[in-house]
Each structure stands twice: as structure tokens, then as C-alpha cells.
Amino acid sequence: MKNIQGVYKVAGLTRVNDIYYRLALEAPELARLVKPGQFIHIKVSAGLEPLFRRPFSVYRAVGGKVEIFFEPVGKGSRLLAGCKKGDLLDVLGPLGRPFSLPSRDVRQVVFIAGGVGVAPFMLFSDQIVKHKAAKVLLYGGRSKAHTFPLNEFKKNAVKAFVATDDGSAGVPGRVSELFGRIDIAPTTFIYACGPRPMLAAVAAFAREKGLKGEASMEEVMACGLGACLGCSIPTSQGYQTVCHDGPVFDLQDLVFP
């Protein structure tokens, strides 16, 4: 196997708040290889239930450890939330097409995230601290409890703006309330990750204003390797697999039926 399958030790599981968890794996090779926007495909159960692996964006890769940031919502993620330090997890990765790094002439990097979709941007902002562009994060969450990792972004000189559905933090409403923070210029580059309706709004906005950008898509996955063609989504180039052709796609290629 070309370095993509490994069994790694859980270095720690941290309960971040009422909603989120962080899980760290001791995986130096993986930490070295992974690029922002790529995911790891974790075998969450030793048995057949659930059968499929679960994909998670890499949230951080420092000190030989790879971290994911997740919310337990179902069978697979709840099993992960029950992991203990020292447990072994079978992982495929890093997989998928990463975000492209902002070119030197980019003056504003705009991260747009919904909910747990913020995960890949932590790694991304870690890796572009030296880039001279202004960096902003427009973050939409359900409530204040969903806004935890933002102080970490501040350390990476990313200015965060928040919108919450219930108005308990930042501006009340959807993340689109924050689009005014985006410089309408050819030197702006958007990176988005979150629920599909949010990405549709971002894509429509970018199209209307002529902005460039990329978005990370989600779809139910089986293999994660481009083998089953199960995670295909319609794009302007025909059906493409989220796991292998994506998860990152150019905003202009996305089709929202």
C-alpha cells in the first residue's frame, strides 16, 4: 500500500465543549503528508456495524499528530467519541484533492465555514501563516456553543466574524449575513466548507460578484478511494466523485440541483 493505510494510536480525545470533540492520532507520516482540505477515512468499528469507514477532515497536523474535529451525530462519530487514549484506529489517508494554496497575488483569503465545516481551515490557516494576505473567517453556527475554535484562529492572524441561527453570538442569521466582509476584487480568494445550502449561497455570491474560490463538498462515502463511484455529485464536468476528484471543487464547477 502506498503509505495510505495505517493503524495509529489514539494520542488523546478531548471534549471541547457540549458539542465538539477533538481526537488526536499518533501518525507522523500522515501529519507530514496531509494538505488542507484532505480527509482521513477512519474504520470506526472493529465489527460490521457500521460497515463503512467515516471520512473526517484533518483539523491539525503538528508534532507528529493528526487531529480531527467532530460532532457526534450518529453511529460512527459516537463510536469515535468513545475512544480512549492508546486505542488503535485503522485509517486510510490522506485522501482527496486538497484546497489549492493562495497564489502570491491574493490579497484577501476568505474562509467561509458552517458548523463542523470549520475543521479544514484550522490546518489551512496553520499552513499559510506566512502568507501576506488578510485572512478572514466567516463562520455560521447554530449557537454560541458552536463557536469555540475561533480563538485558535486569532492566533493565526485570522479575523473571525460570526453569525448564529439563534443570535447567541455574533450577528443573528446565516453566514450570508457576513458576506459584506468580502472584498469584491480579483485578488480575493474564497474557501468554503459546510452544509450544502450554505455552499450554494457562497457559489451564487461568487458567481454574481465574479470572485474565485473553492468549496469542500460532503457526500456519503463507501470506499473513499474513487473505486465504487458511490459518492458522485453532478458538476459542470459531469458526475465527479467527492472522495477522489474532490472533496474540494472549484466554486464555478459546482452544480446545485
Binding site: M1, F52, A227, C228, L229, S232
Partner: protein
């Protein structure tokens, strides 16, 4: 230890292969040496013209299994031969090319193209395709199965394997029809028609409404079908349905399959076919078997 298997004139170095549609991009995640350990490579079914496949959701997870309705997304036979086949040939593993078509004529046309392309070990006919003007699949009719197999056998330079659907009352009747029409081997089974419903949205969880069930959930039925069929046909069977490890594969071999294929479980563990092969060898050593034929069909009846 003799573990090579013949199907017609084709020779496979060992009995472990992969199920069509479950092992794309192998060259990217297997090392070159690892791919060579497979008994054969079976790529996804190819059709005469390119097919774009079904709209999402194409898959859903079910207890110990999955439902899929991919819609045979493939580039069409010409592009397959030009682009994919050279790469597959370079892998240095016997190739079983799976094809499907909407008519006997189209099957023949595709086989002629493959004759010309060269370098195959065998052709697998995916007969889970519509039987023209009828509501059934070709694989659901002994007559239609026999018709396709006979026409293909007339032209094919390669041994022909008929892949059977389990969605029938008596699979042995279809198997016998394929054998009589000249098939060199059988592949069984394809997926079971199934559905799963999202009770919140009261919608099918599959974009195509229904799909095919595969994975460990179907294994006991597949083993039974292989066992019944092996008792009645003389041609070799490639057994599949929910194989995850060597023990599962051994059930098929003991039931009478000559080869086994890992399908859905490749999605969980892409190395599963290699583990299965090692496990079969270990079992043979432990039981002092020197020839895989001592194992095949060894069930006490």
C-alpha cells in the same frame, strides 16, 4: 501447493479475485507487487456507449451491507480500450473484462472489439441488464441468458463467464442454460434488489428508488446458491457475496466455487483480497492439502 485455477483455456495463478465495480483505481492504492498477488483483476462493467450513471444518492449503508444504484457509470468500450485497458494490462495480472449491453448484437460488437484489443484472460457477461421489451433482466430468463451466451461464444477469442443475478426463483435453471449455451464459467452472485427508506423524509434513501444489496448481509444466501449450482453444473464458479475474510471465502470454496471474489468489503479494507488469499493458503497447510481441488466442493452432502 497447487492453487492455480482454469476457466476454459484461461489460467489464474490463484483463486482470489475482486468483484466487478468494487476495485477501481487499484493501481493507485496497491503497490505494483501487491496487485500481482491477485488471481485476476475484474474492472467495472463496460457498456457499448459511455454511461453517466445515476443521480445521487447512489449508495446507502444497511445492516452489515449496502445498497447501490451506481448505474454502471463507465466511459464506453472504445475509451475503455484506449485509455483504461493499457493500464490494466501493465499491472501484469490476468484480466477478466466485464461487459453489459442492451441487445445480443451489442454484446457481440463489444466482444469483437475486445478480440481486437487483445491481452484479456476472459470476458464476464454482466447479464443483469434489461431483456429487450420485457420487464425482466436477461439473467432472469434461461432463454435470454442462453441466447446471449451462445452469440458471444460464437465470436469470443476468450473464455466466457456468465454472471448470474440472484433475483430469480431457481438460479440453477439459469446456470444450466448458460452452461448448455457454452459458458466456460459462472460468476455468482450479483446484488439482490432492495430498498431502504428515510422515514423522516418518507423518501427512498437511493436516488434511483431501488438498488442492489451486497455485503456480509447477503452471504448466507449466496453460499446456498453457489452450493446448489455447483452440484448441478460442471463449469467452474467464481463465488461472491459478502466475503470479508478467508473464513468467508472458504465457505464458498467448500460449497463448490473454484474462485472467490471480494466485493463490497474492498471499500472497508482494500487489502482484504490479499488477506483472504493468505488465509486460504494457511487453511490448506493446516489441513495438509496440497491441491486446491481437495478443498473445492468438499462439503459433506
Amino acid at each position: 501447493m497447487k492453487i492455480a485455477i482454469n476457466i476454459g483455456t484461461a489460467v489464474f495463478p490463484n483463486p482470489v479475485t475482486v468483484a466487478s465495480g468494487t476495485f477501481g483505481h487499484a493501481e493507485e492504492f496497491y503497490g505494483q507487487e501487491e496487485v500481482k498477488k491477485l488471481g485476476a483483476l475484474v474492472p467495472k462493467t463496460v457498456t457499448l456507449n459511455a454511461q453517466q450513471g445515476n443521480p445521487p444518492k447512489r449508495i446507502c449503508e444497511t445492516p452489515a451491507g449496502m445498497i447501490n444504484a451506481i448505474g454502471i457509470e463507465n466511459p464506453g468500450i472504445d475509451r475503455f480500450i484506449d485509455v483504461k485497458l493499457p493500464r490494466l494490462k501493465a499491472a501484469g495480472v490476468p484480466l477478466i473484462i466485464s461487459i453489459s449491453a442492451h441487445s445480443e448484437d451489442d454484446f457481440v460488437l463489444m466482444v469483437e472489439k475486445l478480440n481486437e484489443a487483445g491481452g484479456l484472460s476472459a470476458i464476464e457477461l454482466n447479464l443483469s441488464c434489461p431483456n429487450l421489451q420485457k420487464k425482466e433482466l436477461v439473467a432472469q430468463s434461461a432463454e435470454a441468458t442462453s441466447g446471449v451466451v451462445r452469440r458471444v461464444k460464437n465470436v469470443s477469442h476468450y473464455p466466457v463467464i456468465a454472471k448470474l443475478s440472484p433475483n430469480v426463483t431457481d438460479i440453477t435453471a439459469i446456470a444450466l442454460a448458460a452452461e448448455e449455451a457454452g459458458a466456460d464459467g459462472l460468476s455468482m452472485v450479483n446484488t439482490f434488489m432492495a430498498m431502504a427508506i428515510d422515514i423522516r423524509k418518507r423518501r427512498s434513501r437511493i436516488g434511483n428508488f431501488t438498488g442492489g444489496l451486497s455485503g456480509p448481509a447477503i452471504r448466507p444466501i449466496a453460499v446456498r446458491m453457489v452450493c446448489e449450482t455447483a452440484a448441478r453444473v460442471k463449469i467452474p464458479i467464481i463465488g461472491m457475496g459478502g466475503i470479508t475474510n478467508a473464513d468467508d471465502a472458504l465457505e464458498f470454496l467448500i460449497a463448490g466455487a473454484s474462485m472467490v471474489a471480494v466485493g463490497t468489503y474492498n471499500f472497508v479494507d482494500p487489502r482484504a483480497p490479499l488477506t483472504v488469499l493468505e488465509g486460504i493458503k494457511a487453511y490448506m497447510r493446516a489441513h495438509r492439502m496440497t491441491d486446491i481441488r481437495e478443498l473445492i466442493g468438499s462439503i459433506e452432502r
